[in-house]
Amino acid sequence: MSKQLNFDWRRTLLQGSMAGFISLNISAIGMVVLFGERYLIAGLITMGQAAFLLAPVGMAYAAAKSTLGKWRILTGLVKAAVIGLVASLFLVFLVWAERIFDLRSVLLNVSPKLISFLTFGAGADQGSFLLPAVTVTVCLLSAAAAFIPERIRKALFFGLGLTALVGLLSPILVERVRNFLGQSTVRVLFASNALQLWPGIILASAGAILYAGYGFAASRLKPASTPKSALATRMARQAPLFLLLLSLPFFLGTYLTEVTNNVGIYLLMGLGLNIVVGLAGLLDLGYVAFFAIGAYTMAVLSSTGPLGIGLSQWVASMGLHPGNAFWIAVAICVAVAAVAGVVLGIPVLKMRGDYLAIVTLGFGEIIRILALSDLMKPVLGGAQGVLQIPKPSIGSLVLLEPEKLYYVVLAAALLAAFISTRLRESRIGRSWIAIREDEDVAEAMGINLVRTKLLAFAIGAAFSGLAGAIFAPKLTSIFPHSFSLLISINVLSLIIVGGLGSIPGTVVGAIILVGLPELLREFAEFRFLMYGILLVMMMINRPEGFIPSDIIRRELRASESENPTPAT
């Protein structure tokens, strides 16, 4: 009987416990409370509730999906119910533990507020029944979703995902909609920074229908053969995108443009690190050093404060606005960073993998400690940093607002993307990839290891220096603590999430990992926790990244079919 039903009690209980354990931890580290303030859909569900329901729901869906056999729908639903029940018992346990013991003195986030979120405001007694009931219900719903035909399910998920995204971003959307469509539209669509119920339902169904319609249309139309397009057609195809990029500040408003600028600066660093790590395979954890070098060079050159060496004053004495010094300084910054890349690159030429990572990490820390120390204080200002860095200007037009600075960032990012693309397809790019694959073979093929590696370090550092040079005037003052290891980790995460070696991947990675946390202030607190999870999960499940480069994808797929050799 049990074999026919394909029902593995132990496995299901284990899955339920895992889901419960995850939910318990999500609650205990404070995610639920922090997210709990925010409604996704007004009056219906908060982000916090979504957070603790996510694990059981996901687990139930996975369990139902993997169920096979004759009675698979029934079995799947039973499994989902069991998972939901077991998982919710963990949370009920937490509710009662909080009631009996004073957990808050140790676990800061297990507060009465958390309990009220967990029990949907019903209190410990009723909540102990309400919580399992709700969890089991949503688990059953998600398990049921696993059994509807795939095309409908995908459409449904798309609609729900779209609604969730709009709900998440609603505080920003409120502001934008108000700007373009007026307050009355805002009131119809949103309530207290969350999506209203009915617009939410309409959005979800519209999204689902559109997705289904698109899929249907796409399946009817024969995929058009894409011949190698000429340069002119390619440019014509990219023209709308380019126009959109140019007009972006108009749509986005000041705050979102500021966020975009941050994304752009990280994108620049990501493109640089992509050459070092993604193409040449040299894991550099001290990448922030070059960012710092670029920023400090810019600061010292152009600051009008006591630490500046007077480039701005010199430019001003020529009768120009002092901000024009930026354009001279930026070239110097890039050059200095590139030289620093070579100088720090020479000692590590012989190292590979792990040792390289740790040594570069050491370099990054040395640069930061030096910038912070009294030794360099007369030059770099110690902990007080360098102040009074003028904003760049073109002639007498000062690029004061983020909307204007955006074009500097955009130009730099486009330039870096262009250079990376061309380099990757060039002889030197192929040399990098060859080195990444096997240094010894690459050398035997006549690749000059020293030159190729140093070039990777230099170009990567130059991009980072450029990012730093833009970063300094953007903030108008810089401090050593802006250049911690976390920046290196941030950049590394974004290129890994996007896909090592892939330039579109880097763009997507920067938007997801830098843009989203800026938009979702709630997430910012758990940013590095999520980066940690992302890094581990990406490496285990999708090492090629979301938008993989062709070579890496081919390689990973190929190695899967072969016998994997143990790493030694």
């Binding site: 931890n25 205990a28 580290i29 404070g30 995610m31 003195s105 140790v106 676990l107 800061l108 986030n109 395979g281 894991l283 020479i346 000692p347 590590v348 030429l349 012989k350 190292m351 590979r352 993998g353 792990d354 040792y355 990572a357 740790i358 040594v359 990490l361 050491g362 370099f363 820390e365 040395i366 400690i369 030096l370 120390s373 009294d374 030794l375 240094e439 290891l449 020293v450 290891l485 980790i489 590394l492 995460s493 890994i496 758990f526 590095f528 926790l529 980066y531 940690g532 999870i533 992302l534 890094l535 581990v536 490496m539 285990i540 090492p543 994997p564 050799t565 143990p566 790493a567 030694t568």
Partner: protein
């Protein structure tokens, strides 16, 4: 080295670097000795502090070395094994017991409890990390394993920051350990003596475990060759888990000692000791257990004596700020000029 021999420019640059550093260190040292600004008493204090600090590095370094031995990867999350145990034990045991007055009455029992909790938490964190993050990637390219380890490290840091708070917590002082005792013409803090004694005992116990017990032999066999060890009837997965348990225990003990000496714990406390212990492990030759202990001691001494010995006379303002720079520079120098470490690497494989 040999692969790059032909590039004399690079070699010249490296030689120049080496000569410059030796010159700076020698000049600073000679100046300090000639000027004689620091009293003998201060030097002895530096040495004793260095030994105590080095003992902690040694305990952590063993974790890097052991895991490197069996998995051939740098366990970047090891510093979080060190942090998690004592951070939890301080928040959940030491602070509440201190508030209730139990700690003042029974400091010994409290410390045993703190140590036990620290060890249990560290071991749990280590086992979870190994099972969830490292095991699926055992045959994957090394770069991937390292990135996973970095991810795991960040996850645990911010997990514990969310769980127990991101502010630093004071570890309650113990009356019995306050003050100092006379030793070799100077006063030595009681905590420092305790640190050295506990470290020596732990290292002896570890040595016994690794060399004399069946489980220890299994660890060594797996470090030597996983496939052959499996053929000899050793459960490789279990042995690797056991290695993590051993490492985490050592790290947790180091954490308790750290709390006793510095009296402060926070979620970020693992990073710097972790990097330094890694330096110590490399210094002693990674994969080499006695080497890790020697390397830790050496690094602790170097770091404690170094700033005063060769930076003081160079006219550098607040030279003690550069303590970490010395450690990192040493790591870089060792990896460049003697990657096999002082005592030599036990496993002579290319680090590709």
């Amino acid at each position: 080295m040999d692969r790059l021999k032909s590039f004399s420019v690079i070699n010249a640059f490296l030689w120049l670097m080496r000569a410059a550093i030796i010159a700076v260190v020698a000049w600073g040292t000679i100046q300090t000795i000639l000027n004689n600004t620091t009293s003998t008493r201060a030097w002895t204090d530096f040495v004793i502090f260095g030994v105590a600090q080095g003992s902690m590095y040694a305990l952590i370094a063993i974790g890097y070395t052991l895991v490197y031995g069996v998995l051939k990867m740098i366990n970047f999350a090891h510093s979080e094994f060190f942090m998690s145990g004592i951070f939890t034990a301080t928040s959940a045991v030491a602070i509440p017991l201190n508030a209730s007055g139990f700690m003042a009455e029974h400091p010994f029992i409290t410390m045993i409890l703190v140590s036990l909790v620290a060890i249990v938490v560290s071991v749990t964190v280590a086992l979870l990390t190994e099972r969830i993050a490292y095991r699926p990637l055992r045959t994957a390219p090394r770069l991937m394993a390292l990135i996973t380890a970095i991810g795991a490290s960040f996850f645990w840091q911010y997990y514990f920051s969310g769980l127990l708070g991101s502010r630093a917590k004071g570890f309650p002082a113990i009356d019995a350990l306050k003050g100092s005792v006379p030793f070799l013409g100077t006063q030595v803090l009681k905590t420092h003596i305790l640190v050295v004694i506990v470290t020596i005992l732990s290292l002896l116990a570890l040595n016994f475990f690794i060399t004399r017990t069946r489980a220890g032999m299994a660890i060594r066999a797996v470090a030597e060759n996983k496939d052959v060890a499996a053929l000899m009837g050793i459960n490789v997965n279990q042995t690797i888990s056991l290695t993590f348990v051993t490492c985490a225990t050592m790290a947790a003990i180091a954490g308790v000692l750290y709390a006793l000496v510095f009296q402060q714990v926070h979620f970020y406390m693992g990073f710097i000791p972790g990097i330094k212990a890694f330096t110590a492990a490399v210094l002693g030759g990674i994969g080499n257990i006695p080497g890790a202990a020697v390397g830790g001691l050496f690094l602790g001494l170097f770091e404690s004596v170094g700033p005063s010995l060769f930076l003081q006379s160079l006219g550098i303002a607040s030279f003690n700020q550069l303590k970490d720079v010395i450690a990192f520079t040493m790591l870089v120098l060792v990896l460049i000029f003697r990657p096999q470490g002082i005592l030599g690497e036990r496993l002579t494989e290319t680090k590709a």
